[in-house]
Amino acid sequence: MLSNIQVVINILVTSALYLLVSISFASIYYPVKYFHIAHAAVITVASYFVFLFANQLLIPFSAAVVLAIALASIVGILFDILGYRPMRKKNLASLTYLIASLGLYVILQNAISLSFGDDTKVINTAEVTVGHEVFGAYITTVQILTICVSLILFIAVNLFLHYTATGKSIRAVSSNPELCNIYGISSNKIILIAFALGSALAAVAGILSAMDTNMTPTFGFNLLMYGIVAMIIGGVGSTRGLLAGSLLVATAQHLSAFYLDTKWMDAVTYIILILFLIWKPLGFSGKRLKKVEV
């Protein structure tokens, strides 16, 4: 029994992180409809900003985190203004965006490697201690924080999208950008807001992950991949589906590690993705999958 509790805790922590990454990716994907892979670099760069401010420039940790989230958001905005917006004007195929996005990812990831080195960096400098005991299982403070922050942000983003004018505009642009332009909603402006929001959320996910398991310049990529799988399984277009998708991916990974072998964790994730794409292409939510380009 005790054994199951530790696995459940691991599943909860992992799904909280995937949930945050998938909301951050989805808030950009829904309005733009292409895979912004450079998002992985935003996840990474935010935690390196924290490392720079808190560990090297010795700015207080909380201030460093706020500053890092703001800067990561600006990086996301710059991706759109300098990278994607000129391409949107030319009305290019979505595959072009994917390739451009991969290029942007490589540039930023290499910049991080060159500036900070490829070795593991630690931002959580507190003395490592045994986690809090919960029925014989253990959970650390950072992991509790991850679960709470993720759930709060998930609810907040849902409220924002459904009950504010800007949120509604993002959903409108996601549904039909041309019609929005006709009605006087600037789709470019809305997409920019989506990039700022998504990048800030990605920054939070990256910082929490780095506080828990430290970081390397490539850690954001794996995290993003699982977030995207969670989004597709949850049902593209549905924010609530993301919760189910994240839980399923994390559960599958940890149970396969426990009952099969740790080597199966990745394989099982992608097997589930393929099964969903074949048997339930609309994901959990059942909403129509308008366009998914990989």
Binding site: N10, G117, T120, V122, V128, G131, T213, N222, Q253, T262
Partner: protein, 371 residues
């Protein structure tokens, strides 16, 4: 136009003349292939600082004796096989070095070996432990113990201290990890319940591996890895994983132990004679130079092994500025009980080093000899 051509040829002539003259200044070039970028960059930087520091000491002695000075050409392998291959090609073809110190990673050393062998250039790796290095060629040497040997000692430590407790081998899935794991398994009593867990080089979250170990009630972990051992130890502590740790010679790096913190306490591992405090006293000139160049890094095991490779080459080359790789190779096989900073060094018929091993343990964050 003619005058332009004339000036160009005069320039070319003088360039060639002075170029040739430059080569006649008789410095002896030695190559070094180190991971100056990539995941192991901290090892590369510390080795480079140690080599440059020792080179300075050596050159002072050389100029006193009237010997030609030695020069070190350092190339970055970027912790990739293709990086190592370009580096060795450049060192052989452009710099015409008779011997190379490095590479660190076994996979890169194995990639470089055939090229060095074909060009009769000596390669002395300070950190490649793969068992395949033994048969990689006549020109391939190492100043680190073979994984075959290290695995055997680790296995005997387990047999003596912990058998028949439940054992897990957690290893990095690359040439280094696999060969050390295989050698360990070969030397463990076949009746021991044994589990193997491998992980990829890029992984940073080990909670599911460690949870599995905890829930299975395993008693001993033999951990084979690089810097990611920091996360493994930390995450094990967060999970309150109560196990005995057996480590590799990698644990002999004080910087790594400092990063891991108190979680590393109690880890037992095979190592060799590397008493940094003693080196500070006996080789004070070297150590103060090293401290200056490395920016306060601790002298790690690989850097010390690199320095030994350089000291041996210096001893062999003496004043022979025209020495070939072939001559160096012959003389290396005759090295017996060379007094290096990592103890007494000899090479066997395969170019593998033979030096005394000592068992060490981490106690309150410092490495001490295990008794």
């Amino acid at each position: 136009m003619n005058s332009l051509f004339r000036s160009f040829f005069i320039f070319l002539f003088f360039g060639l003349f002075f170029g040739c003259n430059g080569q006649k200044s008789e410095t002896i070039k030695i190559g070094a292939i180190l991971p100056m970028s990539g995941k192991m960059a901290n090892y590369g930087k510390s080795s480079q600082a140690a080599l440059q520091a020792m080179l300075k000491v050596i050159n002072v002695e050389r100029s006193q004796k009237g010997y030609p000075l030695m020069e070190l050409v350092v190339e970055d392998d970027k912790m990739e096989v293709k990086g190592g291959v370009s580096a060795i090609n450049k060192l052989i073809q452009k710099d015409k070095v008779p011997a190379v110190i490095g590479p660190d990673a076994s996979s890169i050393a194995l990639g470089v070996a055939p090229i060095a062998e074909a060009n009769k250039t000596v390669v002395i790796s300070p950190a490649s432990t793969s068992t395949d290095i033994t048969k990689a060629g006549d020109y391939i040497f190492r100043t680190i113990l073979s994984g075959e040997y290290e695995g055997k000692i680790a296995a005997s430590l387990y047999n003596k201290l912990y058998a028949p407790k439940k054992l897990v081998i957690m290893y990095i899935n690359n040439e280094y990890g696999i060969s050390l794991k295989n050698s360990f398994v070969k030397n463990i009593d076949k009746s021991i319940p044994l589990k193997e867990i491998s992980y990829d080089e890029k992984e940073i979250n080990f909670s599911s591996y460690l949870t599995k170990i905890k829930l299975a009630g395993d008693d001993v972990i033999y951990l084979i890895g690089y810097n990611e051992m920091v996360q493994i130890y930390q995450q094990a502590k967060e999970l309150d994983l109560q196990v005995k740790w057996l480590g590799t010679a990698q644990m002999g790096t004080q910087t790594l132990i400092k990063q891991i913190g108190s979680s590393a306490d109690g880890t037992i591992f095979p190592f060799w004679e590397l008493n940094v405090d003693q080196i500070k006293k006996t080789n004070s000139q070297f150590y103060s130079e090293f401290a200056k160049l490395s920016g306060g890094m601790e002298l790690d095991a690989f850097a010390a092994n690199s320095v030994d490779a350089l000291l041996i080459l210096n001893d062999i080359i003496k004043d022979n500025s025209k020495i070939s790789g072939e001559e160096i190779k012959q003389k290396l096989y005759n090295i017996k009980n060379f007094n290096g900073i990592t103890g007494s060094i000899s090479f066997d018929a395969n170019g593998d080093v033979d030096k005394m091993t000592v068992v060490k343990i981490v106690q309150s964050g410092t490495i001490v000899t295990y008794r």
